[in-house]
Symmetry: C2
Subunit: 151 residues, 2 copies
């Protein structure tokens, strides 16, 4: 099976402030699939009647579902396939509902040449409002000496 191709970048290829973004629309099917994987069938996510009576008024996406889109950027684009994901912080700031389009953004915040690590400021936004934010720490090796830079 052929999958989308991840970038093949090294520590030397990055600069502060560079940004990668992706968009995902939250589908009901994503919520039910994520409930199946994680076992989180909280009625806030799967029970219309319970959710309607809650402070949110309707079913919402799991905070970790919305957050999981961050790995799509990290694994595929920034830094891509050479990164080793070390840590992630997540603040769930606003509810995300079925049909919401989530803009996921990673911004290069620090490049630690000595430890060969980067930190990305990571955020998820819906209609311009931050719904999740946090920080990712990722080890990225330097380009091997024998390898020519990709053009």
């Amino acid at each position: 099976m052929t999958y989308p191709t991840a970038t093949d970048l090294f520590l030397d290829d990055f600069c502060l402030g560079q940004v990668a973004e992706r968009r995902h629309v939250i589908e009901d099917a994503d919520i039910l699939t994520f409930a199946g994987i994680t076992g989180d069938y909280s009625p806030l996510h799967v029970d219309d009647e319970f959710a309607r009576r809650s402070r949110f008024g309707r079913r919402l996406a799991h905070g970790l579902l919305t957050s999981s889109f961050i790995t799509g950027i990290i694994g595929m684009e920034l830094p891509g396939r050479n990164g080793i994901y070390m840590s992630q912080t997540l603040r769930f700031r606003r509810p995300v509902f079925i049909g919401d389009e989530v803009l996921v953004r990673a911004t290069m915040a620090t490049i630690d040449e000595e430890k060969s690590r980067i930190t990305l400021a990571t955020s998820c936004l819906v209609d311009g409002e931050v719904v999740v934010d946090g920080e990712a720490l990722i080890f990225v090796p330097r380009r091997p000496h024998s390898q020519a830079p990709s053009s």
Copy 2:
């Protein structure tokens, strides 16, 4: 459709040190499903040949996939359906492979009566070794005065 039932607990029901645990075996299908939801088709997760040549020697689960099992405990058991998940920190400490059984554990670390919040120490273990650890912060309301404690 009928789903498993989440606990209906309030801030007053918890005590320091109480523990909830769940177990999940990482299936190849979970990795592919998670790749589909998140868009993270990094070859470390989906390409046997690339992963074999990597430092890990074989395909591994996404760190956020293993971590996502934490929401199963939080949404269903500790604290269950009345909690509002506010934040989560995650450190990815060791790789997790297909076939690994992940023991997910949440331990009540603090109960803040004033802010009506709890923190859980959250960890994922494989064969007794920590693969992911971190902390969850969750708002849990007090029991409404009109409601009798559940027996």
